[in-house]
């Protein structure tokens, strides 16, 4: 029940955020009151459970939620495309891993939980950060190592964090974040505040020993931890089947139940995460395997086309793309249930689907503008002060000295 309340409040606040900045079209849309009318949508494919009864395929949602999913995913996609070009123009240096293709996981998960729940993930962290309420300017600034970045420009692409949004970040060592997630969950269980932790990792990371250590602890102590395996089917250039005897990651917890989810379907992700949260609060850990796909190469130095075919990539884009799926859903939903709804806009009688079609393109245009503006703003943010090189190593004032390169002439107390 509590979870349900939170669900309602979080989705209504996100729809408010969604509708505020949009054009006249959107204002008329919200005025049409249809935006909050509950509707039910079937997930693309059934869930598959391991030692648990999977949730129903029928997901309840609203037109406003569908539109907010669409918008958030479009924004994430656009952000990653912009990061790609910033990298190519050398404004982003170092290692950079993009999330395009996997947006439905971030968006669907967020819609089922609150910011009091924790998320911890690996280095492919930009979009999770946005989902947790981070801003585009903070993201781009961090990517370019600027002061306005979410980690003061000191982390870069792989190290986004947002404490007030329950985002424990951005970790560089494959698999290392998962036991940390169990520690977070233990803390949550201890204070009994009804919150859970989502600890995310990849199909490659699933083979690290730490994963199994984490699973055992989580199960042993009934921790409210949900281990989310984002199975994009490759760990760098290695296809899942080359690295895993059993690529059924949802079953790899053995005594820990699991659920296989279409990670390209934001509604399926939402349903699964809602189920997982309730389950974990009552019973302890659960694995969610999100079947997803990354369009980009592993990192910016990987063209992403040597170990998989172009047909494979374009096939996924055509048939499973999470944003296109959402666009279609918005349109087809209209056809199914809102046939009669006519809508007045710009003194024209437009059919609902037509409005939505325009609307989705309007959203994309608007998102593009937002992203461009954020990039421009981030570029204006200065580099961190050089003295920041020494800060955050230890707690300020705890007596640690710094030395010059030769340890003799330059000497000072850490700022």
């Amino acid at each position: 029940m509590m979870a349900l309340n939170r669900l309602v409040s979080s989705s209504s606040s996100s729809s408010a955020a969604l509708l505020r900045p949009l054009s006249a079209l959107s204002r008329s849309l919200s005025a049409a009151a249809a935006a909050d009318a509950p509707i039910t949508v079937e997930t693309s494919v059934p869930f598959v459970g391991h030692n648990c009864e999977p949730p129903s395929r029928s997901v309840s949602t609203t037109p406003a939620e569908l539109l907010s999913f669409f918008r958030d995913m479009a924004q994430m996609r656009r952000m990653e495309i912009a990061a790609d070009s910033l990298y190519k123009s050398k404004l982003i240096r170092g290692f950079c891993h993009l999330y395009d293709g996997q947006e439905a996981v971030a968006v669907g998960m967020e819609s089922a939980i609150t910011k009091k729940d924790c998320i911890i993930t690996a280095y492919r962290d930009h979009c999770i950060f946005l989902g947790r309420g981070g801003t585009l300017v903070e993201a781009f600034s961090e990517l370019m190592g600027r002061r306005a970045g979410c980690s003061k420009g000191k982390g870069g692409s792989m190290h986004f964090y947002k404490k007030d949004g329950g985002f424990y970040g951005g970790h560089g060592i494959v698999g290392a974040q998962v036991p940390l997630g169990c520690g977070l969950a233990f803390g949550q269980k201890y204070v009994k505040d009804g919150t859970v932790t989502f600890a995310m990792y990849g199909d490659g990371a699933a083979n690290q020993g730490q994963l199994f250590e984490a699973l055992n602890m989580a199960a042993l102590w009934d921790l409210p931890a949900i281990l989310v395996c984002e199975n994009n089917h490759y760990g760098m250039g290695t296809a899942e089947w080359r690295a895993a005897k059993s690529p059924a990651y949802y079953k790899r917890g053995d005594y820990v139940p699991g659920l296989k989810v279409d990670g390209m379907d934001a509604l399926a992700v939402k349903q699964a995460c809602k189920f997982a949260k309730e389950y974990a609060l009552q019973n302890g850990p659960l694995i969610l395997e999100m079947d997803t796909y990354r369009y980009h190469g592993h990192s910016m130095s990987d063209p992403g086309s040597t170990y998989r075919t172009r047909d494979e990539i374009s096939g996924v884009r055509q048939e499973r793309d999470p944003i296109e799926r959402m666009r279609k859903l918005i349109l087809s939903h209209d056809v199914a249930t809102e046939k009669e709804l006519k809508f007045c806009s710009r003194e024209q009688e437009l059919h609902w689907s037509c409005v939505l079609w325009l609307f989705s393109h309007d959203i994309e245009k608007e998102v593009r503008k937002e992203v461009d503006e954020a990039v421009a703003e981030a570029k204006e943010s200065p580099m961190p002060d050089p003295s920041e090189l020494f800060t955050d190593v230890y707690v300020k004032g705890y007596g640690v000295e710094v030395f010059g390169a030769d340890r003799k002439e330059v000497r000072g107390v850490l700022p």
Binding site: R93, G94, F95, G145, G153, K154, G155, G156, M158, H159, G172, I173, V174, G175, A176, G204, A205, N207, Q208, G209, Q210, G235, M236, G237, T238, R242, A243, A244, S301, T306, Y307, M383, P384, P386, E388, L389, F390, V393, V402, F403, A405, D406, R407, K408, E409
Partner: protein, 355 residues
């Protein structure tokens, strides 16, 4: 000394060459070609697999050539049973390598970046290094060689830049080796592979493409635990290893303009290290400067300085000096501030010489 083709950040550097006399004679008889460092490593691995059928190469993505292309072509030539990808599990794959080596095989393990060697730290320190000692020589894993690219690349950030060599230099039973150039890399890697002790071989990834040198095509080894004076001088002794030598070399050239004659030594093997060569040089110059990219505190430079202060106390004319990375995590921004750059070294050379 042979003249080398050395490209480093657009700067032609001479003198960082190999000059093992015996090798030079050998080489003049055989063919050599200018190759970069990753290709030299690749040649060494081809030779290792070719010359001993009980040699195996494995690690993350190695059968595709590895992220730095060091293992290109090996799987095609020697088959998937001898050159293979492992799952992403450093602790497990190093442990596996120890077992394989304990059966009398040569296991060459690639750790994708030295930054990712830590999950395997326990296997290396507690299993590999002590196997011989604790079994009274019944068992050992001397056939184990762990290769890992280390060091800065200009913009690698926290987890693609570290120099973890000092951690392993604290472990009796291991050998730690770091080459400075393509020719050195090939000869030292082959020496590590054939050495009957477990070795950790850190490759300077900054130089994978940048360093180009004539490398003999044939099979050769360079001696371990033997340092090399790569530049003769009389005023101060400079010690470094790996990529840092190129920076030191630039500082030597600049110092020379001020009339300071520097003697530059490549330590090559960090443990067990060649004290004799270093001591002989310090006895001559009376001054010592050690430089490495790893943070200064607890770095391997500290060990060298302490040893030399002990053995050459009466000959030292100035305090021993270290120019190293700062005591901070490896930074994403301001990497040049962190790094022991040419100018920092030059300043310290002058301060030490004018002490």
């Amino acid at each position: 000394m042979t003249n080398l083709l050395w490209r480093f950040r657009g700067l032609a550097l001479r003198g960082l060459c190999t000059s093992s006399a015996a090798a030079a004679v050998e080489e003049s008889k055989k063919s050599k070609a200018a190759v970069n460092l990753f290709s030299a490593i690749n040649q060494a691995l081809h030779i290792a697999l070719e010359s001993d059928p009980r040699t195996y190469v494995f690690g993350e993505d190695v059968s595709f050539g590895g992220v730095f292309r060091c293992t290109t072509g090996l799987a095609d030539r020697f088959g998937k049973h001898r050159v293979f990808n492992t799952p992403l599990c450093e602790q497990g794959l190093v442990g596996f390598g120890i077992g394989l080596a304990a059966m009398g095989n040569r296991a060459i393990v690639e750790i994708q970046f030295a930054d990712y060697i830590y999950p395997a730290f326990d296997q290396i320190v507690n299993e590999a290094a002590k196997f011989r000692y604790r079994s009274g020589s019944q068992f050992n894993c001397g056939g184990l060689t762990i290769r890992a690219p280390y060091g800065a690349v200009g913009h690698g950030g926290h987890y693609h830049s570290q120099s973890p060599e000092a951690f392993f230099c604290h472990v009796p039973g291991l050998k730690v080796v770091i080459p400075r150039s393509p020719r050195e890399a090939k000869g030292l890697l082959l020496a590590c592979i054939r050495d009957p002790n477990p070795t950790v071989f850190f490759e300077p990834k900054w130089l994978y493409r940048l360093a180009v040198e004539e490398v003999p095509e044939h099979d050769y080894v360079l001696p371990l635990s033997q340092a090399e004076v790569i530049r003769q001088g009389t005023d101060i002794t400079l010690i470094a290893w790996g990529a840092q030598l190129a920076v030191m070399e630039q500082a030597c050239v600049e110092a020379e303009k001020d009339g300071i004659s520097c003697e530059l030594i490549d330590l090559k093997t960090l443990i067990p290290w060649d004290k004799e060569t270093v001591e002989a040089s310090v006895r001559k110059t009376g001054k010592l400067l050690v430089s490495h990219e790893a943070p200064i505190t607890g770095g391997f430079g500290a060990e060298i300085c302490a040893s030399i202060a002990e053995s050459c106390f009466l000959r030292l004319e100035a305090p021993v000096a270290r120019v190293c990375g700062l005591d901070t995590p490896f930074p994403l921004v301001y990497e040049p501030f962190y790094m022991p750059t040419k100018n920092k070294i030059l300043d310290t050379i002058k301060a030490t010489v004018n002490y």
